[in-house]
């Protein structure tokens, strides 16, 4: 299983909000393993998708060059079941953005149907929270590949409407990975 829980961004406005979609397919193993005989999209993975969408939005604020981790789910509420053939649309909005972290509000809809509401708290790990002895946790090229796959540079704009470009970010290998 590959840990991609959003398929593509359809909107990405730096420091403000983003929209991402996730198509739910019977071909995905978790659909058959969550409740055997009754394929459902697990809400834990809906939460992960929301966290990935919000996390990338927050990570952009730090130039895609800092470690941003999901520190806390302050609120999560689910209202329905998501079945195969449905498409989840995640809308994430930055509530607070600071040097040491961010708060993001999010919803997950299937069409007009509200499925999930969440408030997530992301922490930025700096030198004082060194958990890896200074080595990065992931390869910048892997992050770059992910950003390309989900279309961040295809739809991403700054607040003034100008497009963001891959070359604006230091997504190149600098030091060994742990």
């Amino acid at each position: 299983m590959r840990w991609f829980w959003i398929d593509r961004f359809t909107e990405f406005v730096c420091d403000s909000h983003a929209t991402a979609v996730k198509g739910v397919s019977l071909a995905e193993p978790h659909m058959h393993e969550h409740i055997v005989g009754y394929p459902l999209m697990p809400n834990s993975l809906v939460t992960e998708g929301i966290a990935q969408a919000g996390g990338l939005l927050v990570s952009e604020h730090y130039g895609f060059s800092e470690l941003v981790v999901l520190a806390k789910l302050a609120k999560v509420r689910f209202h329905s079941h998501v079945r195969n053939g449905e498409t989840l649309t995640y809308r994430v909005k930055v509530d607070t953005l600071r040097r040491d972290g961010a708060v993001v509000s999010a919803t997950g809809h299937v069409g007009e149907r509200l499925h999930a509401e969440a408030q997530l708290f992301f922490a930025r790990l700096d030198e004082s929270n060194d958990v890896t002895g200074g080595a990065p946790l992931f390869r910048p090229r892997d992050l770059r590949h992910w950003l390309e796959l989900v279309g961040v540079f295809e739809v991403g704009v700054r607040q003034d409407g100008t497009r963001i470009r891959e070359a604006d970010y230091p997504l190149v290998e600098a030091s060994p990975v742990v």
Binding site: A71, K72, A74, K75, T96, R99, D100, G101, F121, A123
Partner: protein, 128 residues
């Protein structure tokens, strides 16, 4: 300047949202860690919410001076020395540290921080 009741109401709202506790649990005497089960990551969340609720800016370490608690000049064998306690009092004029002073084990500081201390902190910030 909001009244003490208004400050308490907003602090309570921030704590209810940040810690997922019931309104009735958030009394002035309740301790954040002991009674309301706040964890270290919650403090940053609480700071964010207080900033928003009161339109104030809270610098890192202002509410909870972890830099003093991790400084070897002020902490020996897990206890804050008298110099460290003096520094804490200077940095935390909003908190009643008399209980902590009697047994200044580092972990006790967060354990003894109350909802009233948070209200005092906000009042102190608003008056600055």
């Amino acid at each position: 300047m909001p009244t003490n009741e208004e400050i308490f109401e907003k602090v309570r709202e921030a704590l209810v949202d940040a810690l997922g506790v019931d309104e009735e649990e958030v009394t002035p005497e309740a301790t954040l860690q002991g009674d309301l089960d706040a964890e270290s990551i919650d403090f940053l969340d609480i700071v964010f919410r207080l900033e928003k609720a009161f339109d104030i800016k809270i610098e890192r370490g202002e509410l909870f001076p972890e830099d003093i608690l991790t400084n070897v000049d002020y902490v020996q064998d897990g206890k804050v020395n008298s110099e460290g306690v003096a520094k804490l009092k200077e940095r935390m004029p909003f908190a009643d540290l008399s209980k902590f002073e009697a047994n200044p084990i580092v972990q006790n500081l967060a354990q003894e921080l109350t909802v009233q201390d948070m209200c005092n902190f906000v009042e102190h910030k608003l008056a600055a």
